[in-house]
C-alpha cells in the first residue's frame, strides 16, 4: 500500500481523437489512478480499451494534431498536461521512461546499442563521453546482457528479441527514473524469456523504488507482478483492487468473466471455460449506460440510461472501486478461482490414451 506521496497521479484523464469527417472517438474516458514509489500497478484490459493511449498521454507522446487531452497528470506533484514540449522532453528519460511491446520499433536501427544508451546518458546526466560509455556498460550488465562491452558495438537487428527488450530497459533505466511505464513489454517474447524480463522488472522495483505501471492483457502477469490492478473496458476503469482481492473476489462481471475464460495451466482437461459472449465491438456509449451491458449476464434495466459511476465498493470499504450496478456476489465467483480444488477430469476416453511416438 502506498505510504509515501505518489510519484504519479492521474486524474480524470480523457483523450479524444478527432479526424476531419469522422466522428470523434474517446479512447480514454475519465481515468484516475496513482502509483507510489516502489509500487507496481497493472492496467489490464482487452485490445482497444485504451491502455496504450493512457500511457502515451502520461508521457506526453500523443501526436500533436487531432487529439484532445484533458484532466490532470502530475509527476511528483508537477502538472504535465499543458506542459511545454521542452519540459516534457527533459522529464522523459530523466524522471519518467517507457518500455514498449516492440523493442525493434523503439530502437534506432542505424545506431549501435551502445551509442543509443550513451546518448540518453549524455542528454540527461552530467557526464563526459568516457564516463557515459563506462556507465552504459554497467547498465547493460545490470539488465543481464552478457559481455556488455562487446554488445555495445552491436546493432539492434543483431540482438534477439529478449536482448533488445533488455537494451530498451537499460535505456529506460539510464537516469534511474522515478516512474517506468511498461506497455506489454513481454507480449512479443517467448515465455521463458518473458520470465527473465519480468524477473528483471521485479528486481528493479524492489531495488530502486521505481514506480512501475505495467500494461498488459495477461492476467497471469498481473497476478505475479502488480500490487494494485485497474481493469479497463472501453476507455474507462471499471474495477480497481489490490491483486489478491481482485483475483479471489472479482466484483465486476467483466473481471469475473475474464478470469473464467482464461485456461489455466493448473486446471485439468475437464475444467470448463465460460467465455464472455460477443466481443468488445458489442458496446454502447458510456453516456447511454454501461458499455459492457450488451455482453453482461447481470444486466438489468437500470444499467441503461446514464453513465454508471466508479464508486467505492460498498461491500469492501475504501480500498476497492467498482463501476457496476449489479456486481457479482463474492461467494458465487470465489469458488473455482482459488486454484485449489479445481475439478480434474480423467484424461481417459476411448481414443484419448497416449500412443507412444510413432507407435
Amino acid at each position: 500500500m502506498p505510504t509515501s506521496a505518489p510519484v504519479l497521479e492521474v486524474e480524470d484523464l480523457a483523450v479524444t481523437f478527432s479526424r476531419k469527417g469522422e466522428t470523434p472517438t474517446r479512447a480514454v474516458d475519465g481515468v484516475s489512478f496513482s502509483v507510489a514509489p516502489g509500487e507496481t500497478i497493472g492496467l489490464v484490459g482487452e485490445s482497444g480499451c485504451g491502455k496504450s493511449v493512457t500511457s502515451l498521454a502520461v508521457m506526453g507522446l500523443l501526436p500533436p494534431r487531432g487529439v484532445r487531452v484533458s484532466g490532470s497528470v502530475r509527476l511528483d506533484g508537477q502538472e504535465l498536461i499543458g506542459a511545454s514540449d521542452r519540459m516534457l522532453r527533459r522529464l522523459r528519460g530523466a524522471d519518467m521512461a517507457m518500455v514498449f511491446q516492440d523493442p525493434l520499433s523503439s530502437l534506432n536501427p542505424t545506431l549501435a546499442i551502445g551509442t543509443q544508451v550513451t546518448e540518453v546518458l549524455l542528454e540527461h546526466r552530467d557526464l563526459d563521453r568516457k564516463q557515459a560509455s563506462a556507465e552504459a556498460v554497467d547498465l547493460l550488465d545490470r539488465v543481464g546482457i552478457p559481455d556488455p562491452g562487446r554488445r555495445l558495438k552491436e546493432y539492434p537487428h543483431q540482438l534477439s528479441g529478449g536482448m533488445r527488450q533488455r537494451a530498451l530497459i537499460a535505456m529506460a533505466l539510464a537516469c534511474s527514473p522515478r516512474l517506468l511505464i511498461a506497455d506489454e513489454p513481454t507480449t512479443a517474447l517467448d515465455v521463458t524469456i518473458q520470465a527473465q524480463i519480468l524477473e528483471l522488472l521485479r528486481e528493479l522495483v524492489v531495488g530502486s523504488g521505481t514506480a512501475l505501471v505495467m500494461i498488459t492483457h495477461d492476467l497471469g502477469v498481473v497476478a505475479g507482478l502488480c500490487d494494485r490492478v485497474h481493469v479497463m473496458y472501453a476507455g474507462k476503469i471499471i474495477e480497481s483492487a489490490e491483486r489478491h482481492e481482485l483475483f479471489a473476489r472479482p466484483r465486476h462481471p467483466y473481471t469475473g468473466g475474464l478470469l473464467h475464460s482464461v485456461p489455466r495451466l493448473d486446471a485439468g482437461r475437464g475444467a470448463r471455460l465460460t467465455p464472455i459472449r460477443g466481443s468488445a465491438r458489442d458496446t454502447i456509449p458510456w453516456s447511454q449506460g454501461c458499455a459492457f451491458a450488451p455482453r453482461c449476464d447481470n444486466a438489468e434495466d437500470d444499467c441503461l440510461g446514464d453513465t454508471v459511476p466508479l464508486e467505492v465498493d460498498p461491500a469492501y470499504g475504501t480500498d476497492r472501486e467498482l463501476r457496476c450496478r449489479h456486481p457479482l456476489q463474492p461467494a458465487r465467483v470465489g469458488a473455482g478461482t482459488s486454484g485449489a480444488g479445481v475439478a480434474r477430469a480423467a484424461t481417459g476416453g476411448s481414443g484419448a490414451t497416449a500412443s507412444g511416438p510413432g507407435r
Binding site: V191, H244, G349
Partner: protein, 387 residues
C-alpha cells in the same frame, strides 16, 4: 541423423492411429551468394520427430518460437516437402499419393490458421468463402444444396444466418476465426490441424473458440493436432501433449501426467515460466529461470540440444550423446539422459555460476541492488548466456 528412433509396437494392438509421423525431418537450405545459388547450411526446422495421433483425440504440440511446430504441421499436409521421414494418414503413406488420391487425402486434412484475417480473402463474402472449398472439390451439389450447407456451417460455428452476405472485415477477430473454422470443417475432414488458433484473439474471446473446437470435435468426430506456444491453452484442449525444442520432441505424455510430473528439464522450466492468473499460486510457485536465448536451429548444440541452457546438465553424456525418447511411465516419453535421477531428486539443478564455469558462458554480474532476487525464485536465478 535419427535422433528419435521409433519405438516398436508392442503389447495389445490398439486401433491404428489416424496420423503417424515417423522420424520426420524438414531442413531448409540457407542460400548465400550473388544469386542465392550457394547453399551454406541448413536450418533444421524439424529434425527427427515421431508421433502418433489416435482417432477422435487431440494432440497438442507446444514449444517456443522457431522450434518447428508450424513446419511440422505444414509437412503433415505436404505444404512443405519433408527432407526425410514418413507421414502415414489412415494407414497410407502420404508421399505415395499423387493426383486424384492426393486431392482426396487433402480433403480429409484441413488447417485452421492463426490470423483469421490473413487467411480469408477480403473480397469474398462469407457464403462464397464457405462454398469455395466445396466447389473446388466438386461437392455440395446445386445452388440450393450449397446454400443449405452454408446455413448448417454458420449454425455449427455459432454465427447468425445473416453473416453469409457479409465480408471478413465486418466481423470481430473471434467471429473471423469462426469463419476460418467453418471453412475448414466444410469438407468434413477427419483431421484438423489448428496452428495457433486463438493466439491472435482477445482473452475473453479465446474461450469461445476453444469451446467451439471441443464441441465440433464431439459432433463431427474430428481428430485434432493443435499447435500453440501457450501451454495453458494446450493443456486445456489436449489429450496428449508433445513438447518441442529446436526441432525435436523432448517430452510427450498424457496432458495431466505432463502437468503433474514434467520430466524433461525444458518442460519443467517452460511450465514454471507460464504465469497463472492467481496471485496465491504465483507467490508459491517455484520458478526455474532459463539461461540465455534459444540457440540457432541452423547450428544446434551437439549432444542434448538443451545442454547449453539446462540447469541439470551433467559432465557426462549431455554434451556429446543425443538422448533418445524413452518411456518412463504409461505413455510418458522423455528424451533426457538423466530423467530418472531428476525425477527422483537425486540430481539438483546447478547454480548459474557452476553452469557458467563448465560451459564457458558469462554470468550476469550482480550489481548492487539489482542482484537481489526474489526469495521465491529457486533454481537458476541468474540469466546467463553462451558466448
Amino acid at each position: 541423423m535419427s535422433a528419435v528412433p521409433t519405438p516398436a509396437a508392442e503389447g495389445a494392438p490398439r486401433s491404428a492411429p489416424l496420423l503417424r509421423v515417423s522420424d520426420l525431418q524438414v531442413h531448409f537450405p540457407i542460400k548465400r551468394g550473388l544469386f542465392f545459388d550457394r547453399t551454406v547450411g541448413h536450418v533444421r526446422a524439424v529434425d527427427g520427430v515421431s508421433l502418433a495421433i489416435d482417432r477422435g483425440s487431440t494432440y497438442g504440440l507446444v514449444g517456443e518460437s522457431g522450434c518447428g511446430k508450424s513446419t511440422l504441421g505444414r509437412a503433415v499436409l505436404r505444404l512443405v516437402e519433408p527432407t526425410a521421414g514418413r507421414v502415414d494418414f489412415d494407414g497410407t503413406d502420404v508421399a505415395s499419393l499423387s493426383g486424384e488420391s492426393l486431392r482426396k487425402m487433402r480433403r480429409r486434412m484441413q488447417m485452421v490458421f492463426q490470423d483469421p484475417m490473413g487467411s480469408l480473402d477480403p473480397r469474398q463474402d462469407v457464403e462464397s468463402l464457405l462454398t469455395e472449398p466445396l466447389r473446388a472439390h466438386g461437392l455440395g451439389g446445386g445452388r440450393k444444396e450449397l446454400a443449405d450447407r452454408v446455413g448448417q456451417l454458420l449454425d455449427a460455428v455459432g454465427l447468425p444466418a445473416a453473416a453469409r452476405r457479409r465480408y471478413p472485415h465486418e466481423f470481430s477477430g473471434g467471429q473471423r476465426q469462426r469463419i476460418g473454422i467453418a471453412r475448414a470443417v466444410a469438407l468434413e475432414p477427419d483431421l484438423l490441424i489448428a496452428d495457433e488458433p486463438v493466439s491472435a484473439l482477445d482473452v475473453s474471446v479465446q474461450a469461445q473458440v476453444l469451446n467451439l473446437l471441443e464441441e465440433l470435435q464431439e459432433r463431427l468426430d474430428l481428430t485434432y493436432l493443435v499447435i500453440a506456444h501457450d501451454l495453458a491453452v494446450v493443456r486445456h484442449i489436449s489429450d496428449v501433449v508433445g513438447v518441442m525444442y529446436l526441432g525435436s520432441l523432448v517430452e510427450q505424455a498424457p496432458a495431466d501426467a505432463l502437468y503433474d510430473e514434467p520430466l524433461h528439464p525444458y518442460t519443467r522450466a517452460l511450465m514454471s515460466a507460464v504465469p497463472v492468473p492467481d496471485p496465491v499460486v504465483e507467490q508459491r510457485r517455484e520458478r526455474i529461470l532459463l539461461a540465455g536465448d534459444l540457440p540457432s536451429p541452423a547450428d544446434p548444440p551437439s549432444g542434448c540440444r538443451f545442454h547449453t541452457r539446462c540447469p541439470w546438465r551433467q559432465e557426462t553424456r549431455c554434451d556429446d550423446e543425443v538422448p533418445v525418447l524413452r518411456e518412463l511411465g504409461a505413455g510418458h516419453w522423455v528424451s533426457c539422459h538423466w530423467a530418472e535421477e531428476i525425477r527422483d531428486g537425486v540430481l539438483a539443478p546447478k547454480s548459474a555460476e557452476e553452469v557458467a564455469a563448465t560451459q564457458g558462458v558469462s554470468v550476469r554480474a550482480g550489481a548492487g541492488a539489482l542482484a537481489e532476487t526474489d526469495a521465491l525464485v529457486q533454481g537458476v536465478d541468474q540469466p546467463i548466456e553462451r558466448t
